[in-house]
């Protein structure tokens, strides 16, 4: 029986070549997309699952009362108190990320960004693997370092790194106590170097008290602990030690498994994705598979007439309906299997590029094949059952008399499915267009400062201390027009402080501040709105002058800001000027209130300060060479590293860029699969109307009228699809754009363009069949019938 079915199936596949190719190709593409997306999603939702204690590890979060702002930072003394005072807690570990700074071994020196201070409990809580060194008890001595294998190879090559010294920032010496395996890519923690808190605490007591919030704190609890209780206890510890927190914060414990996908937690160093996008991609993945299944269903139902006779015969010679259903589902399973084979080949080819694009290391492992089988099963049953039931229900009498109505049978399901297919495609096109316009908008919006032709490099060591000489030497080079120094990279202001002023009406206002040299505003080309800039002529500027941006003026509700006395960041003095707003942060965010102060102590910014250079743009290699020479003169022991400001700003939109690329691909794929289906459907519809076309031509219809007649139905389908897609797209994109403080308006033309595009592609697809049918010799059409 099975062989009989198999033979029929294979011979049918070969006989209906076009139909089979359309089905297999469409399904293969659909399965490929869905499988890739599922692999990606599976990886996203299983972040950090390799930790043995994963169900008992939490990160402490603080939620600002009255807002939904949740931050990952806690006071530095909290961890120890929690461990001592709460019996349910077995381990606690603080982490804090160091600023990007150079490490050096012999003559090898590099800047490292992924370096953290951690507590010894850290490696007891988390299951990171060690390759060599003291794996039992790493980080016991203050100068101990744990490094990753990548770092070990980078600095020590083939030497054994254990016990060797690494010099940090030309100042402190560390020695390597253990080498760990690189942290897996599906870990929210991505450390290359881990050191103790001991040295940091010695240098920076301010970071280790109850009022400064800088540490991320992880805790591990005993099994079956009741989390809300622990949250309450932590809250009360916090309030005992820093009464102000009671006014401001709730404590939440975030399970380890949620850290990666909880987007929008501020001050988090975790590698975060976004649950929202995981869901969106999941939806798109199944959408595409659904589109492919629709092709399958439609082609199979349209093609069913060619199988009607067989069904009739089989029933007449004694086939039960269940046997027929089995036969047809089996046949579809065969098609699905062919498609799956192709898909596996395709996935195998695509995975390297996909990994490169997504930054993951996905492979075709056991997980994959489990998923894959589920997809195949789902596809076969979902796409196969309706046609199988439909075809097997034919009344044998009518099937054999050829009485099944071929042309006039309205197939409402078929129409609905095509409409749905195109609705998804149009929706994706609209999303692609809007995401792209928003991206272009962000890339071209005037930022309030010049981002082009500005490069920056760290203000370190001698170079920072002797900045005034360095500056005048730099300015001697022909390509350089301005030089300035800032406390941090312009896009990341690190300090925020309480502000108070005479006749203060509002309380508890925190405003970010940054220290700059006087020529900052000229270098960045930031416009002055009122008052004056900092100036060397006013020697008091160094301690007691403030410049506010307009956002700060609005935030503090100053009427005539210039001349007003304020106090913040340990300084008190007078507002000397107001500058125009600048978008230093990405356009997701509104412009932050910002207070500029004149940079006083050049040495103080050694860890994170930068020198910004405005250049003409001609002969950049020569320019870099010149700067490097000066750098090496002052800092012979430190590597030179530079960045272009426009690229730094561009990187803020990396996610949106990728999103736009993904959506473009998805739309192309979904449109392509839909068109495959449409082509198949057009073939069948034209075939079933051959006689009608013949008669019409005999009666004198022109070719163009017949093409119109054949295309009508498709045009109506696509128009209907627009009706569904437009509101859905509008709703979705409206929501998405809310992520941006500065955004484009949704224009009608986007919708019309997407609809027109879909219609055009659909018409192109069917035109070949329609024209061929319309031009055929009517006599042959009639004889054929």
């Amino acid at each position: 029986m099975f062989m009989n079915f198999l033979k029929t199936a294979i011979r049918n596949i070969i006989r209906n070549r076009v139909y089979s190719i359309i089905n297999i190709a469409g399904l293969a593409i659909g399965i490929t997309c869905t499988a890739l997306i599922l692999m990606w999603v599976n990886d996203e939702v299983n972040f950090d699952s390799f930790h043995q204690n994963k169900d008992r590890i939490y990160r402490i979060l603080l939620q600002r009362k009255g807002t939904d702002e949740i931050m990952a930072i806690t006071p530095g003394l909290l961890a120890d108190a929690v461990k001592k005072q709460i019996p349910e807690v077995t381990y606690t570990a603080r982490i804090i990320q160091n600023h990007r700074n150079p490490y050096k071994y012999n003559d090898k020196a590099f800047y490292e960004g992924q370096t953290f201070c951690v507590d010894p409990d850290f490696f007891k809580m988390f299951s990171f693997q060690f390759l060599s060194g003291n794996a039992e008890n790493p980080l016991v001595n203050p100068n101990d370092l744990v490094i990753s294998e990548t770092i070990a190879r980078k600095y020590f090559g083939n030497e054994n790194p254990i016990g060797k010294n690494l010099t940090w920032n030309n100042r402190s010496n560390y020695h390597v106590c253990a080498v760990m395996k690189d942290m897996p890519v599906n870990s929210h923690l991505q450390m290359q170097i881990a050191e103790t808190h001991t040295l940091a605490e010695r240098f920076w007591q301010g970071g280790y008290n109850w009022s400064n919030f800088v540490h991320e704190t992880y805790i591990q609890v005993k099994e079956n602990s009741f989390v809300p209780d622990i949250e309450k206890k932590i809250e009360s510890i916090l309030n005992q030690n820093n009464p102000i927190t009671d006014r401001f914060y709730y404590v939440h414990l975030q399970p380890l498994g949620d850290i990666h996908l909880d987007a929008g937690i501020t001050h988090s160093t975790a590698l975060t994705g976004d649950r929202k996008y995981v869901n969106i991609f999941l939806l798109i993945g199944f959408g595409i598979l659904f589109i492919a299944c629709i092709n399958f269903i439609n082609c199979a139902t349209a093609n069913s007439m060619s199988r009607a006779q067989e069904v009739g015969i089989r029933k007449a010679v004694g086939a039960q309906r269940s046997k027929l259903i089995m036969q047809f589902i089996g046949e579809f399973a065969l098609l699905t299997c062919c498609a799956s084979l192709l898909a596996v080949l395709a996935i195998n080819l695509i995975v390297p590029a996909f990994n490169h694009f997504t930054g993951k290391v996905l492979s075709l492992d056991v997980h994959f094949f489990t998923f894959f089988s589920v997809i195949i099963l789902f596809t076969t049953l979902f796409a196969g059952s309706y046609p199988a039931f439909y075809i097997s229900a034919f009344s044998p009498g009518e099937a054999l008399k050829n009485k099944l109505n071929r042309t006039n049978k309205r197939a409402p399901l078929q129409s609905a499915l095509v409409v749905f297919q195109f609705a998804i495609s149009i929706l994706l096109i609209i999303c692609t267009l809007i995401i792209n316009s928003q991206l272009t908008f962000m890339q071209h919006k005037k930022l309030g400062f010049d981002k082009d032709n500005i490069l920056y490099f760290p203000a370190k060591g001698q170079l920072a201390e002797k900045y005034d000489i360095v500056k005048s030497r730099l300015l001697e080079y022909p390509g350089i027009s301005n030089v300035t120094m800032q406390q941090s990279v312009p896009t990341t202001t690190i300090n925020g402080s309480w502000v108070s002023w005479e006749g203060q009406t509002k309380q508890d206002l925190v405003v970010r501040n940054t220290e700059v040299t006087p020529d900052y505003f000229a270098t960045m080309n930031i416009g002055l709105a009122e008052g004056r800039c900092f100036s060397e002529e006013f020697t008091t500027d160094k301690e007691s002058a403030f410049i506010l941006n307009q956002a700060a003026v609005d935030y503090l509700e100053f009427e005539n800001p210039v001349g007003k006395k304020i106090r913040t960041a340990g300084r008190s003095g007078e507002i000397v000027g107001v500058v125009e707003n600048s978008h230093f942060k990405s356009l997701h965010h509104t412009i932050e209130p910002l207070i500029f102060m004149q940079l006083d102590d050049y040495k103080s910014i050694d860890l994170f300060g930068v020198v910004l250079v405005k250049f003409s743009g001609q002969d950049v290699p020569q320019l870099l060479d010149n700067i490097k020479k000066i750098w090496q003169e002052y800092n012979p022991n430190l590597p030179f590293e530079y960045h272009f400001l426009d690229q730094t700003i561009e990187r803020q939109y990396g996610f949106e860029k990728r999103l736009s690329a993904i959506f473009t691909w998805f739309s192309v794929v979904s449109i392509f699969i839909s068109c495959l289906g449409l082509f198949g459907l057009a073939t069948f519809i034209v075939k079933s109307r051959t006689k009608e076309i013949g008669i019409r031509k005999v009666l004198g219809s022109t070719i163009s009228r017949i093409i119109v007649l054949l295309s009508q139905r498709f045009v109506i389908w696509v128009l209907f699809a627009n009706l569904i897609a437009w509101p859905a797209a509008f709703f979705a994109m409206h929501k998405w754009l809310e992520n941006f403080a500065y955004r484009i308006d949704i224009d009608l033309w986007v919708f019309i363009l997407a609809g027109a595009l879909a219609l055009m592609i659909a018409l192109l697809t069917i035109s070949w069949q329609a024209i061929r049918a319309a031009r055929a010799n009517p006599v042959e059409a009639l004889r054929y019938e």
Binding site: R11, I313, R314, V317, R321, K323, P396, G397, K401
Partner: protein
């Protein structure tokens, strides 16, 4: 063997009922060779399909070997197809994707005949119809007469009690047609009940009873030898 009581069949549209068969009362005994005649659209094929349980009837009663068909479910009817009824159609209705051998095999597969037995039954049948050489050919590689021969062989392979033939010679030339008719006659002599639909008087004459249908009614019935 077959008893139809007031059988009727219509197709209901939104507004009109189109009657195909009305007031059909008919008894067919084992060993009969019945020819159903009548002009186009008289309902001949429909009647045959109802007898063959391929079509449902709209009203009336139908007893097949004393079982009330109008009350049976699909499963039971399928069992009848497997056990007792063989079909021969004007358009042969072989499965295009299967070879001669596989076409003959199909009814046995549904009947769940064991492999060895199946093989010998097919071999017998190929032998009997002299088509051993053609067993691996597909239907479209055969002439019309040969296809119909295979169709008859397929009908006979389950050793049916009754053969229902719907214009079995309609698509054949006269020589081929005559051969098929002779074969049916021979089968009838060996005890198989045969009901054929035809509008050719000569072919109808092979039967011992001729039933004339017109506009869905039984117009008259003739008895021969």
């Amino acid at each position: 063997m077959i008893k139809l009581v007031d059988v009727e069949k219509y197709y209901a549209n939104k507004f009109i009922k189109t009657w195909v068969l009305r007031n059909i009362n008919l008894t067919i005994h084992e060993g009969d060779f019945v020819s159903i005649m009548g002009p186009s659209g008289a309902g001949k094929s429909t009647l045959l399909h109802i007898i063959g349980m391929l079509d449902d009837m709209s009203g009336g009663e139908y007893y097949f070997m004393d079982e009330p068909v109008h009350k049976l479910n699909e499963k039971k009817r399928t069992a009848f197809h497997q056990q007792y009824i063989g079909f021969v159609f004007q358009a042969y209705h072989l499965i295009d994707e299967l070879t001669v051998y596989e076409n003959l095999e199909t009814p046995l597969l549904y009947k769940k005949v064991k492999t060895a037995e199946r093989k010998s039954m097919i071999a017998d049948m190929l032998d009997r119809f002299n088509i051993v050489a053609k067993k691996d050919l597909f239907p479209n590689q055969l002439s019309g007469g040969q296809q119909q021969l295979v169709a008859v062989a397929r009908a006979l392979i389950i050793n049916p009690k009754i053969i229902l033939a719907d214009e079995p010679t309609g698509n054949l030339n006269s020589k081929q047609g005559l051969e098929i008719m002779e074969m049916l006659k021979q089968l009838n002599k060996e005890g198989t009940t045969i009901i054929q639909v035809t509008h050719d008087e000569n072919k109808a004459a092979f039967g011992n009873r001729i039933i004339h249908l017109a506009d869905g009614y039984v117009e008259k019935e003739e008895q021969h030898g």
